[in-house]
Symmetry: C2
Subunit: 242 residues, 2 copies
Amino acid sequence: MRSHGVAVKVLVVDIGGNNVKLLVSGRRQVRKLASGRRLTPGRMVAAVREAAADWRYDAVAIGFPGQVRHGRIVAEPANLGRGWTRYDFRRGFARPVRIINDALMQALGSYRTGRLLFIGLGTGLGAALVLEGLPQPLELAHLSYRDGFTYEDFLGKRGLDDVGKKLWRGMVFEIVPRLREAFQVDEVVIGGGNAKLLGRLPRGCRLGSNRNAFVGGFRLFPAHVRARRRPRARAGARRRRK
Amino acid sequence: MRSHGVAVKVLVVDIGGNNVKLLVSGRRQVRKLASGRRLTPGRMVAAVREAAADWRYDAVAIGFPGQVRHGRIVAEPANLGRGWTRYDFRRGFARPVRIINDALMQALGSYRTGRLLFIGLGTGLGAALVLEGLPQPLELAHLSYRDGFTYEDFLGKRGLDDVGKKLWRGMVFEIVPRLREAFQVDEVVIGGGNAKLLGRLPRGCRLGSNRNAFVGGFRLFPAHVRARRRPRARAGARRRRK
């Protein structure tokens, strides 16, 4: 049976080590808050609710920079404050909340068709798969690649700083096609803050966009889900992009 | 709408470098044929049809030791004869045929719930994922792991022969938990001819069984699929295991 629901307005919260970024369905202007080692989940929720006070939203999608399993944060993050594994986000936001790994959220938002590998080149190394539409987490960062060094050692910010842009680019061109082969994907999306340093891209790759993180967050709440908290949403409310 | 089909009798053909193994739905005795560098697809089909002449089957599932994409063999295998990428298996068997990578077939047959990584320790290194029921191919064998050596160099037969059983076991205990973490799976199934040399297994792992390859082949044709070539299958035909 098809349900005749209304479009859910989703507030997407993309948590990084330096910033927390916000966007709500139908808006274009991303808002930013400071992040960092003192950011506890309680402080994050309070700051986000304040910054989004003039936005209407029925649900919250959170992209989290760490391991998430079955919608729960499984380990305290190294770069943020404490308490993330225990916090009740649904209560904090007084709305339905879905939490997903940040790379996975961006992968989901970058997805078009077939099999996709997302590689996030930032401070660390993010990675995720979307296989026939289904988001699948990956944790490649700490996997050994060569001489006892991990993929993150080569492709993350430290690798870039250690060997310089030219050699770092060479490593991207060596490693990414091998991962593409290993995961048997149709295409690779390369995102993250350092992706723009690449210039050209390896074959079968396209450049990601930070906005795709928000698209991924919107996609966590399918359009046909009935909005429970605001059954009489404005008739003129813009529907989220497909 | 539900279709009221009959159970399809599937002939599963598991192609290896040394043997081709056959089993049909409802039977228990696996049959074996010789394989090797002279085995072309035409010879394989002729030999299989002859060996299975007294079995009834409506469809054929083939587990192939090489890359398969969208149901087609994409590269000529190193250990078999030639012509595999071009051969028309449907015509050869005069029945519907589904082809899948052999590790993936065994993974699918080993699957219970959640997220599974299958590792096949044989001459080479097979690997596959089943994520929430969906089979996903992997090609880890030729991915570099350390000192310029690949996962297959360490875990395949050559690694075992080079360093001996004790050190090889150590590598399995080092690498498999890392892969388990990288792919964020609930469990790992270790199969392949050399799995039995391990004795005990790393945490979160269970031992595979060659019979699971056949179970995986049967699962390629869901029970509710209508049998096209034999619409009046025997009423007493045993239904395949769920």
